[in-house]
Symmetry: C2
Subunit: 321 residues, 2 copies
């Protein structure tokens, strides 16, 4: 599958960085962009992230063979409905949203269901809405793809190839499985940071606290700088998984509180155990299993169904120009 | 007050950095050190953090006019009892522990009570037990001092002068007030990081979670690398304040959980509000009130009682050699 004309809807950090990375990969690609905010659109055009911008999302998407929705989740769901009737029959659609079950369900409409491939780049910089877009944003990042049961294997292979062209590593998840995992490792951490900031700054002693607070507090509240609209959407579209993982966290914290209240002599050993787990995780992140070729890698995927494995098996790493 | 011979008990990151910073300030100062771990003691001597090491804490402290206890809190409390009978009558004693009420209470013994000045350097690097000691560790850091009702003003002034010689900023707190503040801004953040790491790694899906986890999870678990013995001591010596602030945090988190479960439309506005508070705090940290001279600064302290203000008022910034 060779895309010729790409529409990127939403030209913030992710959308503009996608445009730059795609342009780096294949300079002849025709990239049209749209953003509801005109300044954001102008900035993307000025950076060369898109060749031109369109006056609305439908105009941008008409005639494209790949549409990338790079907006917060609920806006992307609205765009799917708006754009559906205007897309070319073979147009592949993907998104970059932080939750996947809702948008995959919204894509289950005639003419779209087979060609929609949910995506979620884990750049670790998603929360920095003001960061400068760069072509290298996806280099080495994990990029989740969440095909549905009836996703066309060729559409999936096309998006997976694109992800590799961005320099990222595609990983395949069931949409609900994805949402449970990111609730635990991304959404709950944000909610903890926000709550720590809210509770501390609600305190009568906040003036003194804020003056004393050093590295630990700064570290644990850094995520509170995340994009409020993005996290609002995340909470509304991943409610069940978030509540489940918040409950697990609160159980763990309540147990620790009891240990402290009872002056449990095992606290230091508990902290040692957790520190070891943390060190093991960091070590594994730094020393992942040796890189395998695409042909080796794909059939070993734990979760990718056989029919998709077959479609992906024949792929070669994309050329880089 | 001019110290001639300093004993540093505990030669980890803080103790050794103190030795290096004091040596930078006044190269002729005689600094004797002790650490129960012989390798740690040898390393400190090798770095030039102490002029020599002693065979035990009593030998190190005998004849000193300043003793600095740079161990976890409960070890420091034990040392106070052990060293008390061996100290010169005018010897000033200070510590660097993370909680202050317990050790200040333990210092309320004849011959010691007036000369003990509790201290807590907020270097923001306290948790990194393996970091290399450096003379600059305290540069610009807030350094809490927690005199008790009967602390000798001269002892307090002497330790405050020393803190400024280290390049740090002395701030004065009641011991219990200090412990409440650090429970909120330092101890609770550590407990959140540890619990997030523990709960995530207890999950049946940890293998997948750990592979996906990116910047946000790494940020929010970084403090789990803190020294287990230090945090064990912190929990045991600051139980009441920690439990109180954990309870406040859990109330805040439970309220947020309800908002999410109920699909509260005000979530984005709440996140915006917290982000603004976070930005305000960061801004204030970066742009603190203009630096005042010591004479201006001291009488404006909100909490320093008049009798100490008078003792401190005459101080001049120490010379730097």
């Amino acid at each position: 599958m060779r895309f010729e004309r790409v529409a990127i809807i939403g030209l913030g950090l992710i959308g503009s960085s996608l445009g730059l990375a795609l342009g780096r990969w294949r300079p002849a690609l025709e990239i049209v962009g749209f953003d509801a905010d005109r300044d954001t659109a102008r900035r993307a055009e000025g950076l060369g992230a898109v060749r031109r911008t369109a006056s609305d999302a439908v105009v941008a998407a008409t005639g494209a063979d790949l549409v990338i929705l790079a907006t917060p989740v609920r806006a992307a769901i609205g765009l799917l409905e708006q754009l559906g009737p205007h897309l070319s029959p073979d147009c592949v659609v993907t998104d970059t949203g932080s939750t996947k079950a809702r948008i995959v369900a919204a894509a289950a409409q005639p003419g779209l269901r087979a060609n929609f491939v949910g995506g979620h780049p884990m750049t670790g910089r998603l929360t920095q809405g003001t960061a400068e877009p760069v072509a290298t944003l996806f280099d080495g990042a994990v990029y989740c793809l969440t095909p549905a049961a009836d996703t066309d294997p060729e559409a999936l292979a096309g998006v997976a190839e694109l992800v590799e062209a961005l320099g990222a590593q595609p990983r395949f998840f069931d949409p609900a499985e994805h949402d449970g995992l990111v609730a635990a490792i991304s959404h709950v951490p944000y909610l903890l940071a926000t709550t720590l900031m809210a509770v501390a700054s609600d305190s009568a002693a906040w003036r003194e606290m804020g003056g004393l607070a050093a590295g630990g507090f700064a570290t644990m509240t850094r995520l509170a700088n995340g994009d409020p609209a993005m996290y609002g959407d995340i909470c509304l579209t991943n409610r069940v998984a978030i509540v489940e993982h918040l409950d697990r966290f609160m159980e763990g914290l309540a147990a620790l509180r009891e240990s402290i209240a009872e002056e449990d002599a095992g606290l230091t050993a508990h902290f040692e155990d957790v520190r070891r787990r943390h060190a093991d995780w960091l070590k594994e992140r730094k020393d992942p299993a040796p890189t395998m070729s695409m042909d080796e890698l794909r059939p070993t995927s734990l979760i990718l169904p056989r029919r998709w494995q077959d479609a992906l098996r024949g792929l070669r790493p994309p050329e880089r120009h």
